[in-house]
C-alpha cells in the first residue's frame, strides 16, 4: 500500500502539488505566499513533496534527517507550525481525493483514509512537531546563553574601583548571577569600591531593590563599599513611593559622579593637566 501511494505521488507530483498550492492559497494564513518569491515557493513545495514520498519509501534514518533539515528551514522562513500542519493535512486530502478519483480507493471509503492517516500522516506530524520544537528549543537555549553572557560583568575601571553595569530586567536567576559575579569580582580585582549602575534597568520594584540591598550587604562583608549609581529621576520617585530605604548607600544620578566619589573615597582625584 505504501509503495503504491509513493509511486502514485511520484508519477503525479506536479499535478498534486499544483492542487495543493491552490488549496493552501485559500487558507487565511497566506503570509507565506505573500512574502516568498515564486521560486522559493516552488522549491519549498517540491521539497515538501519529496519529503512526503521519502517518508513512505526511504529508511527511517535518511527520512529523519530530511525532516530535520526541512524543519530547520521552515523555522528560518518563519512559518508557523499550525501552517505547516495545515499544509500536511491539505496534502493528504489532495492525495486522497485524487486517488479516489482514479479509483485506488472506493468512493467514500473512510476506513482506508483513516488507515492512511494513522500509518503515514500521524507519525509524520509527530516528527515535524518534534523537529520544529527542537529547533526552537535550540534557539531559545542559545539566546539564553547569549543573554547570560551579557548580563552581569564586573569591570575594573581604576585600581580599587570596579563598575557593574546592569542592563535590562532583573529576575531571580539574574539576581543570583549578579551576586556571584559581584563577590567574585570584588575579591579578584581587589576592589574597595564597587559601583552598581542601574541606568539600564527599566523598572526598580521591591524585588529588584531587595536584591540590590542584599548584594550591597554581601559586598560589605567582603570588605568593600557598594555604591548605587545611574538612578534616573523617575526611578528615584518610585523608590521613594515604594518606601524603600536606601540610606545605607551612597547613591548618585550618573556613573560619572559615582566614579568621582569613589575616587575621593580612595583618596584620589582626576585633575586636569596643564599642557604647557
Amino acid at each position: 500500500m505504501n509503495t503504491e501511494i509513493a509511486t502514485y505521488i511520484r508519477d503525479n507530483v506536479e499535478e498534486i502539488l499544483e492542487k495543493w498550492k491552490i488549496k493552501m492559497e485559500d487558507e487565511k494564513d497566506d503570509r507565506f505566499f505573500q512574502i516568498m518569491s515564486d521560486q522559493v515557493i516552488d522549491i519549498t513545495v517540491h521539497e515538501f513533496g519529496e519529503l512526503m514520498i521519502s517518508s513512505l519509501t526511504e529508511e527511517r534514518e535518511t527520512y529523519k534527517m530530511k525532516i530535520n533539515d526541512f524543519s530547520e528551514k521552515i523555522v528560518r522562513y518563519g512559518w508557523s507550525i499550525s501552517f505547516v500542519l495545515k499544509a500536511l493535512s491539505n496534502f493528504t486530502e489532495v492525495i486522497y481525493e485524487r486517488m479516489e478519483e482514479v479509483g485506488y480507493f472506493k468512493k467514500g471509503d473512510k476506513l482506508s483514509f483513516a488507515e492512511l492517516y494513522t500509518n503515514w500522516i500521524t507519525p509524520l506530524n509527530y516528527s515535524i512537531v518534534d523537529a520544529y520544537t527542537k529547533v526552537w528549543e535550540k534557539t531559545v537555549q542559545l539566546q539564553k546563553i547569549a543573554l547570560q553572557e551579557l548580563s552581569a560583568s564586573l569591570i575594573p575601571v581604576f585600581e580599587k574601583i570596579s563598575v557593574m553595569p546592569l542592563v535590562g530586567t532583573i529576575d531571580t536567576e539574574r539576581a543570583k548571577l549578579i551576586m556571584e559575579n559581584l563577590l567574585q569580582g570584588v575579591v579578584k580585582h581587589r576592589a574597595e569600591v564597587v559601583l552598581l549602575d542601574i541606568t539600564g534597568v527599566p523598572v526598580v520594584d521591591t524585588m529588584v531593590a531587595h536584591h540590590i540591598i542584599q548584594a550591597a550587604d554581601a559586598v560589605r562583608l567582603v570588605g568593600a563599599k557598594c555604591m548605587l549609581v545611574g538612578i534616573r529621576p523617575e526611578i528615584a520617585q518610585t523608590i521613594v513611593a515604594l518606601g524603600i530605604n536606601l540610606t545605607d548607600f551612597t547613591t548618585t544620578s550618573t556613573l560619572q559622579r559615582g566614579v568621582e566619589q569613589a575616587l575621593a573615597l580612595t583618596n584620589r582625584a582626576i585633575v586636569e593637566v596643564n599642557s604647557k
Partner: protein
C-alpha cells in the same frame, strides 16, 4: 472608551510582559515618564505577588474615562490562598517571603485609588487606578 487587555501570569517572565503592556497602555493614555514608571512598577509588584503567592493569575489593564478625566485601571486577580489579614499586609515592612514588605503599601502610594477584595482560600482581586492630571 473601554479598551482592555490582559496578561496571564504563570512564569516569572510574564511579569515582564505585564509591565510592558502596562507601559504601552500608559503611554497611549498620555502619562508622562514618571507616571509611566509608577504604573509599571505597581504592575510589577502586583504581578510578582501573583507569581510568588498564588502561583498563577491574571493582570488586566483598562483605559478608563470619567467625565473629562482619563485614567488607567489595573486589575490583578488570582485564585490563590487569599490574604488572611489585609490590614497587616498594608503595613510597611510586613513580609511573609523574606522580601522588603513594601509591595502592597508601595502600590497604594504609587497609584491614586487602591482596593483589595480577598477571601481566604478563594483568591484575591486588587484594583488600582491612576488618573491622568
Amino acid at each position: 472608551m473601554n479598551l482592555r487587555s490582559s496578561v496571564d501570569i504563570i512564569t516569572e517572565w510574564d511579569i515582564v510582559a505585564a509591565r510592558q503592556l502596562g507601559r504601552n497602555e500608559a503611554k497611549e493614555v498620555g502619562f508622562g515618564t514618571v507616571d509611566q514608571a509608577r504604573i509599571t512598577t505597581a504592575i510589577s509588584e502586583l504581578a510578582r505577588n501573583i507569581y510568588l503567592y498564588a502561583g498563577k493569575g491574571n493582570i488586566e489593564i483598562k483605559q478608563i474615562a470619567e467625565g473629562n478625566l482619563k485614567g488607567l485601571l489595573v486589575i490583578a486577580s488570582d485564585k490563590g490562598p487569599g490574604i488572611p489579614d489585609v490590614r497587616k499586609v498594608m503595613e510597611d515592612g510586613y513580609t511573609t517571603s523574606g522580601g522588603l514588605g513594601a509591595g502592597l503599601p508601595g502600590v497604594k502610594r504609587l497609584m491614586d485609588e487602591f482596593k483589595i477584595d480577598t477571601v481566604v482560600g478563594e483568591g484575591t482581586t486588587i484594583s488600582a487606578t491612576k488618573w491622568l492630571r
